[in-house]
């Protein structure tokens, strides 16, 4: 395949950055999107130019490290698929492809396509856990959990923390990510004692970290590679209202 790539290059956080055009040829349809960038980077390195920085690690769609907004869509055009799992056969020969980083105040660009997502860790640190000191746990069967709750909690827990929801949200909101964790822990009996403080603290942290507010536009769910449903946002709002009322 032959492609024209327009890629965001930005030397560092202070740099303004711009789109740079690269022509690339001989790309296999079986290559993944990131492998296509690898090929380009090999060429750039040999030409003495600096390769394009982008985040990635597992390349299996689970670590949440890869990002990239491809033609205006976080993780590209294929639904429920991370960038690392996206393959070139989804594009047309000769196509022009725009590649940009996640854009959000809370995720400042470090270099080129790499952003700093530590804000998500801070949201989790604010309450996205169950306090269970090591060694104090009762037998795992002490508390049965209804299968429906366990399954639903699992769906929420599938979030890979990639940040595509923020990138897609017109408000730059991380509410889907936030609500997924609130729902995961709030659905389990083990999560009940801290349910109120968790939602209050996490919502507060999310706001303090410069994420936008949610107006229920629903772009996040569609961009989410794990298809985390919007219903968790409603659930979180309910928890929040009830906790605020106490």
């Amino acid at each position: 395949m032959k492609l024209k790539l327009r890629i965001w290059r930005q030397k560092n956080a202070a740099d303004k950055g711009q789109m740079v055009t690269y022509d690339i040829d001989d790309i296999s349809e079986d290559a993944s999107f990131l492998e296509m960038l690898d090929v380009l980077n090999e060429r750039l390195a040999l030409e003495g130019e600096e390769p394009i920085a982008f985040d990635h690690d597992c390349r299996e769609g689970i670590c949440g490290m890869c990002s990239l907004v491809i033609n205006g869509q976080p993780h590209g055009p294929e639904r429920n698929t991370t960038t690392c799992q996206l393959h070139m056969r989804k594009f047309k020969d000769g196509e022009t492809i725009d590649v940009e980083p996640w854009r959000a105040k809370a995720f400042p660009v470090v270099k080129d396509l790499v952003v700093d997502r530590s804000a998500f860790d801070k949201v989790i640190a604010a309450g996205g856990y169950i306090s269970a000191p090591t060694g104090t746990a009762p037998d795992a069967h002490a508390t049965p959990v209804p299968k429906v709750d366990a399954d639903k909690a699992f769906v929420a827990a599938e979030c890979i923390g990639c940040g595509a929801c923020v990138a897609a949200c017109p408000n730059g909101s991380g509410t889907l990510f936030l609500s997924a964790k609130v729902a995961h822990l709030g659905l389990l009996p083990q999560g009940q004692p801290e349910r109120d403080s968790r939602v209050l603290n996490m919502v507060q942290a999310h706001e303090d970290l410069d994420f936008g507010g949610c107006t229920n536009t629903g772009e996040c769910t569609i961009a989410c590679p794990k298809g985390i449903p919007q219903e968790f946002i409603g659930r979180m709002n309910r928890d929040w209202l009830s906790a605020s009322g106490k």
Partner: protein
């Protein structure tokens, strides 16, 4: 067979002195916990612990040590601790809960693990692992890990290779993810409480030694290139496996040996480096662009049938090959176990048929895993219910629909049993340097059973290290590390960075990595020979020399520079690869993940040599000269070595 001592020399034997060997195996851990000295709570605050790695092993250790009151400083190279490669584990985690009432017990798990490891692991350690396994499940459930449950609300189990009982706990195909998130969340709680100081996107590049003890690390801040140093009372490495020495593996792109290797150069022995697990069901390579391999869960072999054409070079489409021209080779050779033979056997059989020219797909490196019988027998719905997510993943990657045409699979490097040598307390041969998880060599011998790496990582981090590190800290009051010592370590790292940047040669880092991978896969992969290994050692040496003359690392050292990160890792792989070949060369037996062509029986099955090789090989670095071999004799008091047979 020719002598391999031109490549290494022999040193003093080595032994674990920490396990209370006099006690019966099931009492050793209890005994040890009682024997270790405790650090009183007020003093814990004054003790600093460095942990490198935030996977299951490091994450659980950080959370627990922080909670106990130690001052923890923790690092990972990813942008968040939650992205450590443990996240990718699919299948499950073993525990001897016996919730099925099917005859499981701590002893049985112990037995299965020792046997699965082909009698090359230390009994004391494995028994402790089996004991702790049950506590792990309790701990994870309390943290909110959403394990699969049954309608009654109790935990579900599945069975896994190498066991006759159902003891594997799982969370759909994402067990590693869920366990890691549990540990990560617990860790973030400690970060919030101020007990853990976390540095993501920091890569450890050297160990700081003082008075013969590990006292700190030199790290590079990957965001801005700054080289920084941190000192502590003790250093813990939990940096994962080194499968990426093969370039293509199921590991994450960033998985590396750097932290362990640089510790090795300070005196930590590297044990059994050649024990590599090769997983039979991965998606084959599709072209030169290939950057990593994706595992397809082993469970597929429950319903898929493996075959290749009978004729070499048969390039017809699979549907055009009639039944009697297909060779269901696993069912043919291993009638008793059929498609369900253990990983190493399935992998080697695939390699053999491909070597005969009967492989399928691009480059002839693949075999079919066919579900048409299963679809006919069970109906498409049932197959969907079991495997749909895997089938979708396969289709996403290959563009082929496994409901309509057979999957193509090929073995790939998956796990490394070898690692830094540790004793019962998980302390390496460098005092004050502890090693956890896949980075150590401890529990899996020559072959790891499915679902036991997660168990080991969490056992090490949640339950073992919190007990044993106290013993060390109580007995080794730390003295201040002189500034000059720290500065020297920092200077060393700076020098390496500058060296790499200044070569400005003609070849990219990846091209070296790929070539090294080819050599390792060809000569130190599924089947190893005396001749091939010797050749490989020569090739690796030449390649390494060329690397230091001719590599090009664009960009500078003072900002984010992914080429530079890779260059450092590949430089270490180029040294490790040689040691792996030497280890493989010296071990002339076949065992577990190490198959020497010279050591097989008439049927082509692996032949262990207990008389000569019932030891763990711990290698000492000698500054680039011949490494020194220290043998740790393995004693089997409880599980008597026997031959595996799956016919």
């Amino acid at each position: 067979m020719s002598d391999a001592t031109e490549f290494y020399s022999s040193g003093e034997p080595i032994a674990d002195t920490k396990a209370p060997a006099a006690a019966p195996v099931e009492e050793r851990w209890t005994q040890r916990k009682f024997d270790v000295k405790l650090v009183n709570p007020a003093n814990k605050r004054k003790k600093t612990v460095i942990i490198v790695g935030t996977g299951l092993a490091g994450g659980s250790a950080g959370a627990t040590l922080g909670e106990l009151g130690y001052k923890v400083i923790q690092f990972c190279f990813q942008d968040s601790p939650r992205r450590a490669h443990s996240i990718a584990a699919q299948g499950g985690i073993n525990a001897a809960k016996n919730y099925r009432n099917d005859g499981d017990s701590v002893h049985r798990l112990f037995y299965d693990t020792v046997k699965g490891g082909d009698f090359r692991a230390r009994e004391s350690n494995v028994h402790r692992l089996a004991e702790i396994s049950t506590q792990i499940i309790d701990q994870c459930v309390a943290q909110g890990v959403p394990f699969a449950r049954e309608y009654g609300g109790l935990l579900d189990n599945r069975s896994f290779g190498g066991a006759q009982v159902s003891r594997t706990f799982y969370a759909r195909g994402q067990t590693g993810q869920q366990l890691l998130l549990g540990a990560y969340q617990a860790l973030m709680r400690q970060v919030d409480a101020g007990n853990v100081e976390l540095h993501a996107r920091h890569e450890m590049l050297d160990l700081i030694m003082h008075e013969g003890k590990a006292r700190g690390v030199v790290v590079r801040d990957l965001m801005n290139g700054e080289i920084k140093s941190y000192t502590a009372d003790v250093v813990i490495l939990a940096t994962g496996g080194y499968g990426n020495v093969y370039f293509l593996s199921t590991n994450a792109m960033g998985s590396n040996v750097t932290a362990a290797w640089r510790a090795h150069k300070h005196g930590a022995y590297f044990a059994n480096p050649c024990y590599t697990q090769i997983h039979p069901t991965c998606i084959p390579v599709s072209g030169d662009h290939q950057s990593k391999l994706t595992l397809m869960s082993e469970s597929l072999r429950n319903d898929g049938r493996v075959w290749v054409p009978k004729e070499a070079g048969d390039s017809r489409r699979p549907s055009d090959i009639p039944e009697d021209e297909r060779d269901y080779y696993l069912e043919r050779i291993y009638p008793a176990f059929g498609n369900l033979v253990p990983r190493d056997i399935a992998s080697r059989a695939a390699k053999n048929v491909c070597d005969e020219g009967r492989g399928v797909g691009p480059g002839g490196l693949g075999v079919y895993l066919d579900f048409s019988d299963a679809i006919e027998r069970l109906g498409r719905k049932a197959v969907e219910a079991k495997y749909d997510n895997l089938f979708q993943m396969y289709e996403r990657i290959t563009g082929e629909n496994p409901y309509e045409q057979p999957m193509r699979i090929y073995p790939a490097v998956h796990y490394t049993m070898g690692g830094l040598w540790v004793d019962y307390d998980l302390e390496s041969t460098v005092p004050g340097l502890f090693v956890l998880g896949e980075a150590n060599f401890s529990d899996h011998g020559a072959n790891r059973l499915g679902a036991s790496a997660l168990m080991q990582g969490l056992a090490d981090g949640y339950f073992v290290i919190p007990q044993t590190v106290g013993e060390y800290l109580a007995k080794n009051p730390a003295t201040a590390v002189p500034d000059a010592t720290v500065q020297a370590a920092v200077d060393g790292v700076n020098a390496q960075v500058e060296k790499l940047l200044s070569i400005k040669g003609e070849r990219t880092v990846d091209s070296y990595h790929r070539e090294l991978g080819h050599i390792m896969w060809e000569y130190c992969g599924m089947e190893r020979t005396d001749e091939g290994l010797r050749k490989a050692i020569g090739m690796i040496r030449a390649l390494r020399e060329d690397f230091w003359q001719n590599v090009t690392v664009p960009g500078s050292g003072d900002d984010l520079n992914q080429s530079l990160e890779k260059a450092g890792r590949v430089a270490d792989f180029l040294e490790l690869g040689e040691l792996m070949c030497i280890d493989a060369l010296h071990r002339t037996e076949s065992c577990g993940g190490h198959f020497r062509a010279e050591s097989q029986d008439e049927d082509g099955e692996a032949k262990r040599d207990d008389e000569n090789f019932s030891y763990a090989a711990a290698w000492e670095w000698t500054g680039g000269d011949k490494p020194v071999l220290h043998k740790e004799d393995l004693v089997f008091e409880y599980v008597k070595p026997s031959t595996r047979s799956y016919k």
